[in-house]
Amino acid sequence: MRADRAPDPIGEPSAASTREIHQETMLINMGPQHPSTHGVLRLLLELDGETVLACTPIIGYLHTGIEKNTEYRTWQQGVTFVTRADYLAPFFNELGYCLAVEKLLGIEAPPRAQVLRVMFCEMNRIASHLVWLATSGLELGAVSVMLYGFREREQILDIFEAATGLRMNHAYVRIGGVVMDLPEGGLDRIDDFLRMMPGRIDEYETLLTENPIWIQRNQGVGPLSAEDALTYGVTGPTLRAAGAARDVRRDEPYGGYETYDFDVVTSDGADCYARYLVRMGEMRQSLRIVEQCLDRLREPGPVMVEDPKVRWPAQLEVGPDGIGNSQRYVTHIMEESMEALIHHFKMVTEGVSVPPGEVYVPVESPRGELGFYVVSDGGNRPARVKMRDPSFANLQAAPQMVRGGLVADVIAVIASIDPVLGGVDR
């Protein structure tokens, strides 16, 4: 109560003073350093008690200048930059960028490379959804889900490390194909993983799907109808949980997705619980796709396009100290062929020359439509690379989703949107 008012009589507070108390809202700042905001996201919450009246997300705390940086590097080096935008789904960033550049070049990666790309992308989708599950569980209090999610993710990361040399931010998908083929025994490892994973997803579902606490915290929380979602530009599981079956893999297929047999998982709840169901279903569908990919990988084939003006010249392999040029290739360029050395040097320093033009290529990342608008002016550096990140648009819908809910529901809603601030801020 304000100090300049006359003191109320002792006893029941007068109606006037009660009205006054309720009209004062609280402005609370969540983040950017906060354990539960999925990264450096700052939320300004206007609260009336525990009810959220308005929410303003403030982003930009992870702005990295990736788009500007790609204009100062060659086309191939752009892969290493864009892969760090949405760092939980690096293969998708690389794939979108490479598809866009290949569209500008007018080439297509060889079939085996396309299958490898699809397979690694789907495994990345599972890994990303596992991180979502782990962090969402942790934020809502289910701490053991965090450990289970990361345990399974380690299996996937081991496969990534064996195949690409890195656990994250791989720079594996390159212009013209992929940079390396699977190692010895890679197919068996993925087979083992496929056999193990469905049982683990069953485990998570047993733990959470019928769990009354999980249901109470998620059902009815953060509603977003399909209509509102589309106006806000929301895509991905958040949109599919509202009933709209929109998936770039199905609507505008790329990289061979039209030849795979999978379902687009939707739900009707349009709340956090529905988004949980959609993501669990998507993990199972991704396993289906990976299985189909494995069948196609039984026969060998080239993984990089043949054109010497485009292909990455080196032959890389994963050794005990990480990824590097294979010994055979080093011998070849250093001792056997001067032309090969010169060619290698030119390709690595100067890079590819891409004819002028502009393209927009969307891919379906675990969070929604990840689009790349790439402009070339004919040189060996990009003129403009714009990443249309799904979390950037998804977060715009967050204020509407949390309005009228409790503060604790804000956590649940942000967790269910699954934003990755690296992609939002780039």
Binding site: G65, E67, K103, P362, F392, Q396
Partner: protein
Amino acid sequence: MNAAGIAERVRTSFPDVVVARHEASVIVGRGELLRALGSFRDDPELRLDFLSSVTVNDRPGRDPRFWVVYELASTDHHHRLRVKVGLSEDDPHVPSVTGVFRTADWYERETYDFFGIVFDGHPDLRRILLPEDWEGWPLRKTEELGGVDTRFHGAFIPPVDRRTS
């Protein structure tokens, strides 16, 4: 509809259409932008009701210097169209499309933040990714890449080669 079909359909109202690499792009004037977006959305054959992204392509030394690029998509027909508006350097104003697509809110703020394009009619045009008091439009081609000074509040850190400690 494929890109050629979309181009034919659009060409009746907006003649400046290009089809390249199976993608259709149409150039519209600044004044007709809102009318164009509305007509693309309402046309039953096009039904371009989803705005994927808004960005700018900066070509310094040319006129128009800035090309504002809108990527439209259709949720029904699953086709796309690119709409481009050319702006000159001394008059980087363009009407805001937040009335037509609510998603353009943050995209236009980001474009303003990076390039300095002013979107007339935007409800809250201010910087979104860079600090509020940042000076300059970093993604313009005439701006440097940077990375030599740390512009931290209250402190000046010299570039790496001039540091004494």
